[in-house]
Symmetry: C2
Subunit: 462 residues, 2 copies
């Protein structure tokens, strides 16, 4: 029996196992559920792996596993060691009332599995595990495989370096890293990505008074935190989408000719985005072409803001505070710590420029959270061809080659640990709605993912 | 037995009745609870009044009641008819987790009754009812008294005119109107107010896309509604607190010399506000003195804003939408409909000025809600002296005379119906926290309110 047949015959069992994993609501900050998921995974991996270990960290555990080759082809020119990366923590499911089925009770509708974490990232890394198991059961594992499962990716993997430093030898012989995360290209073509943007998050919390007060009785006296924060935020971005923080664009890389060529080959059609997202205009830097804004440029995004109450709960008050959450996507060669420093310097400059800004900022707390470096692997390396061939086998379609993915991953930690090239091969379809209600993954894409992983493991032997 | 003694002897019974009323959670939009409160009040008023009626409206019922004098003093120079106004609907209690005791289970702590609606407005109008009952029981009612209880004040009394038009004759012989609502002056002195600011509310709802999307995968493509709404809002107010909408200040009145004198006599100390509210600077128009901003100037307030999620629920998304709730406090002679028109014209001008604004505003819905006219009664009328004397008797302290209260009331409807002067005498202490968690009214202030109402009814006999 060949490996693909074995997979097809046992598909329902694998899906049942995946559903068991999905039912564990391993939201990053819910330590107990995350630990339950880690234990479940450790047990699962022990069925086939030669080595499995939970590495405790200051945060959630990181899981490591290794499979030694079951045979070595004498004729092979190399015996590479492959590292798969995935993360078993998930985003919070809110807003709950927008879910059609409960977020942690997977349900298949119209060929899609709906559940929080199915695409981001449990369904994707589980495809690797299934592929390994299929080959292992048939004694056909011909390469050395390693796996690292992160427990805090959705918080920015603050302690993955701590785990890696405890097991440095695990990473030393790795030859390449494969990450399956994020959605495939919006054109629905299979996708091979050579890097990802970085990210920093920042929280602005402005409390201008002790309490909410009646907006009539104290209107004109108590300052309004929303207006005041708007004054501050508006100094950081103009109406054309340009970030106004001094030096923000200084380290933005100039894409190499190969990267530019690959980007142009994508033939991005703005109209497709407009229809898919139901948008009538585009965000961020209005003077740049779409492809550049998607992968070669940083962003400056307000991901959430809250003050007082709205809609049926609106009250005639001056709210005491406002909280705004930002995320800033970085491209090579922007450095997270430097960008944080530039934001801080910008605010310091505002303080010295105007008494008005100084008064506001004295009451404003700015806290930085998640931080990922941007990463980029040159398109010219030989792995490109092997991986493209494997994806073509798994998806029965040639992949798009995307120089830089929009999303952010803790790739820099993997790069620091291995010094080796990193590739991203998403197994979730483009409308997976990760980080949103009704997150989902098509069963067909899960299957193609498993087939792709099998092809990679077979093709890397030679 | 004199009236005050009768009140003191029966105080506990009156408080028990007030608590029964408070336990009915008559949040304006909760029709059933509002109707329960209306029925409770109708029964209560029937115990003493000569006429009681619930006037049905498109919204919640308005309650009318009348007490004819039990005797007429032959020597009196006049027999005025007094109209009391109050409202029996309350604000929503959210956020619930900030209440120390449940909002609709009144609890006395440190001499204060804590409950939603105790100060705003049930405890205040109930003081009038108690005063009337005390005089009535002792056969000492010497003036004609009318009462109107609004069921939708917290929504801007959209149907009070409808109720009034059904019973126009009820209002025709009224000589003066007294409203006890809002908190007393922040100096804790008893307060006599000669008018109130008006208000309009406006909701800005900007939906720029079909759904929340991952801020990495779609960053640079999907527009950010928060940045875009900030761009629009920032055209309406500058960093110095001035409203930038053309014509916004055109109809703002010039206070009369008597009003200015009264305002100056208040000797407002900015430092007292800073300490009371824990603020380090002031809101709205930074170039004007405090007293003017509190009562002679309009405001332009953002009372709530929401997009995406914040704090522990923050996710790395581009939110699909943002909602901002504004309230604009008006002063004489600003007209609500005209101000709405100016806002609309401002937005139309933005659309024609820039493609960028036009694209944003095409996706933005602006809805106006509550609308109250500003109102102002000249300080020179003879009622001023009678009312000041009565307050001095009730509170054992001379009242502050405040030309214009900060809050808004449906006074214009009462003015249209009666054509007579309107006075506001708050019975709630300054830190009643109306519209906020842990709303409360001091028992002592309730008692002084009852005594003041008794004094008014005695002194108006002439």
């Amino acid at each position: 029996m060949n490996t693909i047949e074995f997979f097809i015959n046992n598909k329902q069992n694998f899906l049942n196992e995946l559903f068991d994993l999905i039912r564990i609501p391993s939201i990053s900050r819910h330590k107990d559920s995350v630990q339950t998921a880690a234990n479940w995974l450790e047990n699962k991996l022990r069925q086939t792996a030669d080595y499995v270990e939970q590495i405790p960290t200051t945060g959630n555990p990181v899981i490591l596993a290794e499979w030694e080759p079951q045979y070595l082809e004498i004729s092979a020119s190399s015996h590479p060691t492959l590292l798969f990366y995935g993360h078993y923590d998930v985003q919070p499911p809110e807003p709950l009332d927008e879910w059609i089925s409960p977020p942690f009770e997977p349900e298949i509708r119209d060929g899609r599995i709906f559940a929080r974490g199915i695409g981001d990232n449990k369904g994707q890394f589980f495809a690797h595990i299934v592929a390994i198991e299929c080959l292992h059961k048939l004694n056909q594992l011909g390469v050395n495989i390693k796996l690292i499962l992160d427990g805090e990716e959705e918080l920015g993997s603050p302690y993955i370096d701590e785990a890696i430093s405890k097991k440095q030898e695990f990473f030393e012989d790795v030859d390449l890293v494969i990450v399956s995360d994020g959605p495939a290209d919006p054109t629905w073509k299979p996708t091979l990505e050579f890097g990802a943007r970085g990210i920093i998050t920042a929280q602005f919390e402005l409390q201008t008074a002790k309490g909410d007060v009646h907006s009539g009785n104290f209107g004109g006296i108590q300052p309004n935190p929303v207006w005041d924060l708007i004054s501050i935020l508006k100094t950081m971005k103009d109406d054309q989408g340009k970030c106004l923080i001094e030096g923000f664009y200084d380290d933005v890389f100039t894409p190499t000719p190969a990267a530019l060529k690959a980007a142009e080959d994508l033939n991005r059609d703005p109209e497709v985005y407009k229809e898919q997202l139901d948008i009538t205009y585009f965000g961020e830097e209005k003077d740049l072409p779409i492809t550049h804004r998607l992968m070669f440029r940083p962003t400056f995004n307000i991901r959430g803001i809250s003050s007082g109450s709205v809609r049926e709960n609106a009250r005639t008050i001056i709210p005491k505070e406002v909280v705004a959450e930002l995320d800033i996507r970085l491209v090579p060669n922007q450095v997270p710590e430097k960008i944080k420093q530039l934001v801080t310097e910008h605010l310091d400059r505002l303080k010295s420029e105007s008494e008005n800004y100084a008064q506001i900022l004295e009451r404003c707390e700015v806290n930085f959270g998640t931080s990922f470096y941007p990463m980029f692997t040159p398109l010219e390396l030989p792995w490109t061809e092997v991986l493209a061939k494997s994806i073509t086998e798994g998806f029965e379609e040639e992949p798009l080659k995307i120089p830089l993915a929009g999303g952010s991953l803790p790739l820099y930690s993997l790069y620091k640990a291995t010094g080796k090239p990193i590739y991203i091969i998403p197994y979730a379809q483009p409308d997976e709605d990760n980080h949103a209600p009704n997150e989902n993954m098509m069963v067909e894409w899960f299957e193609k993912g498993v087939k792709t992983s099998i092809a990679i493991l077979n093709n890397l032997k030679g």
